[in-house]
Symmetry: C2
Subunit: 701 residues, 2 copies
């Protein structure tokens, strides 16, 4: 190489170097931070820890870092066949419905107003630039004392009322249902007398609407709810101050008190002292105060882009993301780029939190019915509150708003409902160092950076944090964090030494007069896997011991483990109960696609199941939550079977659950429903190990 | 308040504000970064991602950010009764031993030279400022064809040789044993002929020392090892190029070839193409290249301090940390500060990785014996290589060196062997938002910041990443990451379609001529819990269904779950096999200490067990790895029972394992051994929920 050429080669890197530096400097100097800005962690200042900083803000002034200012959605338009209904579309639906025969002359409420997704084939065939398939909406409405499912075609303006047959349950509650339920008891003089009799001022009352399940005649024929109340005197944490044993049954449609059960008059309301959980009111010896600021920083910004509001592109991943009133979020068309061909390969057509079953284990009057279905009764998305920037999600998170319809059909925006961010917590994706044995000078490490989609649903006392995490090696991990506050029971006991041995308190005495009642949370995910196409099968890879006979001299070993793959031929064969001492792996694979060396291409499904429901199969709550009878179910594709507890889960008898659909029919195609939260990792992780390229991009074997 | 007073109150915050800003500015301007420094991620420049940057460095010049420059240990002195032996102490031990009768006239090798920890009572009674208890060392040595355990008293210079009785096994290998083993085969003309016959140049040979377990007479009476070799032609990833079926048995003491088994002559050596895993040699479409920089930043530095080299103080935690040649790291005297009293409360006296059992599931000649004990045979700490700053651990990590003794007693330093850092990946420790139901304006979030202690052991092909993670709510989580490269088997097959149905290949065809053989990794942790003192008990809290009879009209429920606590009275009762459908919780508690409302104070032990060993109990490997027969064992405290596979695990027959010690003796005190990695969370997490202070510090209820 001539000296001149050499210099030219040097020139380019240097120019580039200076340019980068220049832009970095620009970022620093662009808006010179003032002292106040640097110290006020509520703004996007560069050196703030992610502590609880909302308290630094004046009250009633929401935290709105530059990146998360409230957005105007009035002019939103759909860009993708799966994009959710826009404000304008919802308005149009409202107009069309209000003139429809069903709703014209009677009061009505809309429980679901959402995109009716086009047929899978249309969505798969659609490419950017193509016209969108006709936009349609699914509407679930209550009118004239009945539930109706309608399709509204936004282009033809046609409204179709579907015959859904007889069903025992009711649609998901509206927010209006829930808030109305909490005030109805106050219309009862008897209720008001009881409250005063308990020594609670009516202005201190906080009431919660509690779905009552189904146990027989009493919960049939009308839409009911039970309301229980708390004292919020001297605390925001009213959950810790139950007015125990007082249960008001309310008719959700007529908005009338049906029954008052008052069985806890002798039980004191637990004290308010030391119950406030707010950062601002906490004592001074807070651990977080002694931690220095720590934050995730990305000087060049995040590496993902969100195209057309909903299409997420990050590293080798691409997927469609939208908020959903019932599921919280829906991930669709997840694809990963093949590092060799550069092509995007299909992984998952659709994934969502299908249902959340929360049975309490106290059979007494005020507790036996607490067997919540948090998604199908309350709406995981309806209860997802705005995320708190820098606290709920790190700096550089992108916030997505939810656009929903109120009960009267008016569109509203739930801002910052979902966040998307890159996570790096110091973990290692892959590493290899050569040991002292070989002495080779090798230290290869790939730090672990992932993409996280987060939503947090506050279903009254509990906060569920649902994360979909994507790794560059092809893994999708679903993580569910359970946070918030316990739902507790009042008791006369102040110390365990007062509890007679024979008294079953159905839980643990947590504080004076406060019992934490035993309960479980089962969350079921619907995963429509389309690995390299829709033609997928499900296999159980059974691990079992092979025992060598004593006389066998071919090996000194007496036993070893062998893996046997069995492809499920019926839904029955794909109903999985996990067993530690009779283990299997579970593969969703495409029998028509092979890796280079002939293995089927697929994903391993790893349920996170740490708990199985032990309730009696004939117990009404377990009938309704029968989708928890197994940890994995696999069903033929049927676009209407999204909700493991049934479409109308409220007060249902359990005749429309996954357990009912999943009979012994032949397994034609597949839809994996994974019971209890878990994670999925690639089957073909091995195939990459000869070339650890896989860590940095080898998606599917 | 008078205006003057008000101003004074304003004055202080502002002064403080300016001071902070000033120091921040100082940090920025202190050493003005040059363009090169800003762009060279191998230095401690502020805007670098944690990618693989070792490649930016000239070869043979180790990455040494300011915080991790090599330290001089020659003048180290012990400050705490548990501090490891210093360089000077090891030198003194060497001098004392070399003049001892046992070693004076014959060759010897030292397999363990470590602190003999003082009695627990002495350590617990010791306070900073007190004189140290007498410093002693435990030495395990081979000399005159036998293994010896000695105590060297560093103050009296007395050397005591212990009678250890007859034992079947041998001490952990020295690094010298391992490296010697790999070259011994070359002394055999037959071996060299075989290698050449396989078409491999002797200079391309890479050999590995493989512990051979025990299967009968052939593995008794002398210290043996099997050596298998690979071709490193055209790749650093020789693991992918096995010279299949060639096994050389070597005598570790005489350094002679005992036997050569050559059964794979027809099996081709897999190709080198596409096996190199190094970042520098990878193709251009690397996913990491398209990710923007991301890093964990702490502008005011980390919040932890490490006093006297080994005492870690962070948030409400304090513990002693030291590297260990066999366990990797040892955590001792873990204590958490009570937020109310301000006192430190004991949680764990000692915790360590006790053993790692890795049985392969191929009974054929070259594979049946692969049933590694990675800690007791190879030394988890001996194989822990220097961590790669900014890749293995994030910026602001503190690096701790290991000081060990070579086989001849010479001290040496393994630099950067352990790192300590604060982790924040965008996760939430606790949150609660009020839902639309109550409409209260509450969004409380505590981001999750934890402290991580990390070590990565490279046991030949595999890299184990062991993390001890401490949370401010009192949780200790042990995470084990399995990384590195598979140990693979050569085969004639190039595609699965060549494999006859009846042929069991004992694994999966991963690439042309490469099989990944089925195997498991079982890691067992020793946890000596001392919750609020040493007098702890173990209880199983059994969850079972209570069935209501059909005629019972007291409740509409047919079933509910009840928790019954049963305190283990014998070791037998505390041997736990996990069952999903017959579940229990496991508590270590102090029966003499109660919470305010009378519950015993304790910790919940949550095993991470996802796999149980299914090998036949009579299979020799399972006898040696019998500590995997249960997921939890609890034994009376016995300071000599640290190693679940026995002190001399190499070639042992399994007569000194946890399973042998743990007979039906009464449970006098406790030492929890948790089989398979897992996590521990506080029992009393509930007690804090009435006051979510717990999240920010409420350690033990």
């Amino acid at each position: 190489m001539e000296p001149r050429n050499f210099l030219r080669f040097l020139f380019f890197p240097l120019t580039l170097g200076i340019l980068v530096l220049f832009f970095t400097w620009l970022t620093f100097t662009h808006a010179p931070p003032s002292a106040v800005e640097l110290l006020d962690c509520a703004t996007n200042s560069p050196w703030c820890t992610s502590k609880n900083r909302i308290q630094h803000q004046p009250p009633n002034q929401p935290v709105t870092p530059k990146s998360t200012r409230l957005r105007d959605h009035t002019l939103d338009t759909p860009h993708h066949p799966l994009d959710p209904l826009t404000v304008q579309e919802i308005r149009k639906i409202r107009t069309l419905l209000s003139s429809h025969a069903l709703f014209r002359a009677s009061p009505y409420s809309l429980h679901t107003v959402e995109l009716e997704e086009p047929e899978k084939s249309l969505v798969i065939g659609w490419k950017k630039g193509d016209p969108l398939p006709p936009r349609k909406a699914t509407v679930v409405a209550r009118a004239r004392g009945a539930s109706h499912v309608l399709t509204v075609d936004l282009s033809t303006e046609e409204v179709t009322v579907h015959q859904t047959g007889k069903h025992s349950g009711y649609p998901m509650m509206t927010v209006e249902d829930m808030t109305t339920a909490t005030v109805v008891p106050l219309t009862s003089a008897e209720f008001n007398r009881t409250i005063v009799g308990r020594g609670v001022n009516l202005t201190d009352l906080a009431c919660l609407p509690i779905s009552l399940g189904w146990f027989g005649k009493a919960e049939e024929g009308r839409r009911l709810i039970k309301v229980q109340c708390y004292s919020m005197k001297d605390t925001v944490n009213f959950y810790m101050r139950p007015i125990e044993g007082l249960t008001v049954t309310v008719d959700l449609d007529t908005k009338q008190v049906v029954k008052i059960s008052d069985k806890g008059k002798t039980i004191p309301i637990p004290k308010a002292s030391n119950t406030d959980y707010r950062f601002s009111t906490m004592e001074q010896n807070r651990v977080m105060d002694i931690l220095n600021p720590i934050s995730l920083e990305q000087p060049k910004g995040p590496s993902f882009v969100i195209e057309d509001d909903h299409l997420v592109k990050w590293a080798n991943w691409e997927f469609h993301l939208k908020p959903d009133a019932r599921a919280g979020v829906i991930i669709s068309r997840a694809k990963i780029r093949d590092p060799d061909s550069g092509e995007l390969r299909n992984v998952m057509y659709k994934g969502l939190a299908s249902e959340l079953f929360v049975p309490y284990m106290d059979p007494t009057d005020a507790w036996y019915f607490k067997t919540y279905m948090d998604a199908g009764e309350y709406g995981f998305g309806l209860e997802a509150m705005p995320l708190d920037p820098l606290n709920d999600c790190p700096r550089n998170a992108y916030y997505m708003d939810g656009v929903f319809a109120a009960a009267d059909g008016t569109p509203y925006v739930r801002s910052n409902m979902v966040c998307v961010f890159e996570s790096y917590g110091g973990d290692i994706a892959w590493r290899h160092a050569e040991s002292p044995i070989t002495g080779m000078d090798i230290r290869e490490v790939r730090p672990k950076v992932t993409l996280v989609v987060r939503m947090a649903a506050s279903v009254a006392n509990y906060d569920y944090i649902v994360d979909w995490e994507f790794q560059t090696d092809g893994l999708i991990r679903i993580k569910v964090g359970l946070s918030g506050i316990l739902m507790v029971k009042g008791t006369e006991y102040e110390n365990t030494n007062q509890i007679p041995n024979e008294d079953n308190i159905y839980g643990t005495l947590l504080s004076e007069n406060v019992i934490g009642v035993i309960h479980d949370h089962y969350i079921t995910f619907y995963l429509d896997m389309d690995v390299d196409g829709s033609d997928n099968s499900f296999a159980k890879v059974h691990i079992e011991r092979v025992k060598n006979s004593q006389g066998d001299s071919s090996t000194p070993r007496r036993s070893y483990l062998k893996a046997t793959k069995k492809v499920a031929k019926t839904e029955k064969e794909a109903q999985i109960k996990l067993k530690l001492y009779d283990p299997s792996e579970f593969h969703v694979f495409n029998p028509t696609k092979k890796t280079r060396v002939g293995n089927p291409v697929g994903y391993k499904v790893v349920p996170g199941g740490t708990a199985a429901s032990l309730l009696d199969l004939d117990d009404p709550p377990q009938k309704r939550g029968a989708f928890t009878n197994n940890q994995i179910w696999v069903t033929p594709y049927n676009r209407s079977e999204l909700w493991a507890g049934g479409l109308f889960v409220y007060q249902s008898h359990g005749e429309d659950t996954l357990a009912v659909w999943s009979d012994s029919l032949a397994l034609r195609s597949k839809t994996v429903r994974q019971v209890t939260y878990g994670e999925m990792i690639m089957i073909e992780v091995y195939s990459g190990v000869t070339n650890p390229n896989c860590i940095a991009g080898k998606g599917i074997g």
